[in-house]
Amino acid sequence: MDVLLDNLDVFREGFITTIQLFALAAVGSLILGTFLAMLRVSPVPVFRAAGTLYVTLVRNTPLTLVFLFFFFAYPLLEIIDLSYFVAAVVSLIVYTSAFICEVVRSGINTVSVGQAEAARALGLGFGQVLSHVVLPQSFRSVMPPLISMLIALLKNSTIAGGFSVREAGAIRSILSERGEDQMVTLLWIAAGFIILVMVLTFVQRTIEKRWSVAR
C-alpha cells in the first residue's frame, strides 16, 4: 500500500495519460475503422482496393514498428511536427483502425441484404443506407468483439511508455529511480488496468442491455 500512497502523484499522472491516450485513440480508431469498412464495401473498385491495401499492410505490421515509424521516420518527412503524445495517439489509431475495420465489416455482413435493399428502394443514397440502416445494426451485432478490440487498444497503449510518453506503463521506470519495490509497483499498475477493463466491460453490458430492450 505504501508504494501506491507514497507515489500517488506518479500513479495519477500515469493513469490519466493512459486514459487520455486510450480515449483519443479509441474515438479515432472507431471513426477511421468505420470509414475503412465503408471503403471495403463500396461499389467503387478503387475504394475497395485502397481499403484492402491499408488493412493488409497495417494488420501485418507489428505495433512497435508503427510507433518507430511515427517517432523516427515520419519526422524526417518534415510535414507537421507531432508531440510524443500525439505521435503515440496517431500510431495507435493507424494500427487499431485496421482491426476495427474488419470487425465492422463482419458486422455489415450480418445485416440482411433486404435491409439495405429496402433503404435503397426508398431513395436513400449509398452513404445514407450505411449510416442510417446498415451500420447501426452492424455495431449492435459486433459489440463484444469491438469491446475486445478496445481492451487490446488499452493494453497496447503501454507501448507509448517506451517512447517517452509518461503513461501508466512508464510508472515502473520512474518508481525504480525512486528505489521502490519493482514487484509491488507492477502489481499496482496491473490492478489499475484491471479496473479500467472492468469499466469497459460494464459499458458493454449497459449498452447491450439497452439494445436488447429495443428489439
Binding site: S112, G114, Q115, E117, A118, A119, R120, A121, L122, G123, L124, G125, Q128, H132, V133, P136, Q137, R140, A214, R215
Partner: protein, 263 residues
C-alpha cells in the same frame, strides 16, 4: 380521376390516350450468368391501373419487379417510369427510386427503428421534411393501414400482417407514383393475409398505380384491371382477370392454374 367511376377498362383507355404509361418496359432482357431470367419483356402499366403478375416459382416475377427501380440492372431494352428512362446510377437513380414504392415478401422493416421511425426515415432524409411534419403524416398513414397503436414498437414486436402493413405505410410516405408488391402475403400466416390484401384493395380503389406479384385470386378478381402470366422469363398471357381465370389460352397457364386451384 375517381376510382368509383366507370369500369376499370374504360378508365384505362382514357388514360393511355392522354398520358404516357406510368411504367413502360420494351424489349427488356436480363440474364443471371447463363440463366435467361427476362426474355424480351414488353409491358405498359398505365396510370391508375392495377396489374397482377403471376406464374410458377422461378419464372422471373421478382426480377420483373426489381428491374423497375433498378435493384437489378438489365442487359438490354428500355424501362421508363412516368415517361422518363431509368437513370443508371447516383442521385438521379435515388430520386427515381423515391418515387417508386416497393413492398417485399419479407417486409424488410428496419429492425433497429420503431414503426413510426421506419415510416419517417426516408421523408426526413430524402425529401428533407421537418421531423414533426413527417411524423404527423406517418401517423395518418399508420391510421390508414390500421396500426396507429403500434407506432412506437419495434418491428419484431408486431405480427407479420402488421409488419407488412407498416411496410406499405413506409412506402406510401414517399407519395410514390407507382407501387410494386413482390408476393406481399406469401410470408404471412393464413389468418393475416386478408388484412394486408384489404389494405392493398383500398390503395387500388384510391387510384394508385400498382404492379402486384401475387397468387391471391380473390385479390386479382376484386382489384386488378389486368393479369399478366409469366413463365420461364416470358410474358405468356396478358388479359383481364376474368378471362385469365375462366378461359386461359396457353397450356402453361392452364397447367399453372390447375396447380394453384387444387391446393
Amino acid at each position: 380521376m375517381t376510382a368509383a367511376e366507370g369500369s376499370p377498362s374504360a378508365r384505362t383507355e382514357q388514360d393511355t390516350l392522354a398520358t404516357p404509361p406510368m411504367v413502360r418496359m420494351a424489349s427488356v432482357d436480363k440474364h443471371f450468368g447463363q440463366l435467361h431470367v427476362l426474355r424480351d419483356i414488353d409491358i405498359d402499366v398505365p396510370r391508375g391501373q392495377v396489374v397482377v403478375v403471376l406464374g410458377p416459382s422461378g419464372s422471373g416475377k421478382s426480377t420483373l419487379c426489381r428491374v423497375i427501380n433498378r435493384l437489378e440492372p438489365i442487359d438490354s431494352g428500355t424501362i421508363e417510369v412516368d415517361g422518363k428512362p431509368l437513370p443508371s446510377e447516383g442521385k438521379e437513380l435515388a430520386k427515381l427510386r423515391s418515387d417508386v414504392g416497393m413492398v417485399f415478401q419479407q417486409f424488410n422493416l428496419f429492425s433497429h427503428k420503431t414503426i413510426v421511425e421506419n415510416v419517417t426515415l426516408a421523408p426526413i432524409k430524402v425529401r428533407k421534411r421537418p421531423a414533426a411534419e413527417a411524423r404527423k403524416t406517418a401517423m395518418e398513414l399508420l391510421e390508414r393501414v390500421g396500426i396507429t397503436d403500434q407506432a412506437d414498437k419495434y418491428p419484431a414486436q408486431l405480427s407479420g400482417g402488421q409488419q407488412q402493413r407498416a411496410a406499405i405505410a413506409r412506402a406510401l410516405a414517399m407519395q410514390p407514383k407507382v407501387m410494386l408488391f413482390d408476393e406481399p402475403t406469401s410470408a404471412l400466416d393464413p389468418e393475416m393475409v386478408q388484412e394486408v390484401l384489404d389494405t392493398m384493395t383500398g390503395l387500388a380503389k384510391d387510384g394508385m398505380t400498382m404492379l402486384v406479384v401475387s397468387h391471391e385470386m380473390g385479390f386479382a378478381r376484386r382489384a386488378a384491371h389486368r393479369v399478366v402470366f409469366m413463365s420461364d422469363g416470358e410474358i405468356v398471357e396478358d388479359s383481364t382477370p376474368n378471362e385469365f381465370f375462366t378461359a386461359p389460352k396457353s397450356d402453361r397457364a392452364k397447367d399453372f392454374l390447375g396447380k394453384i386451384l387444387t391446393h
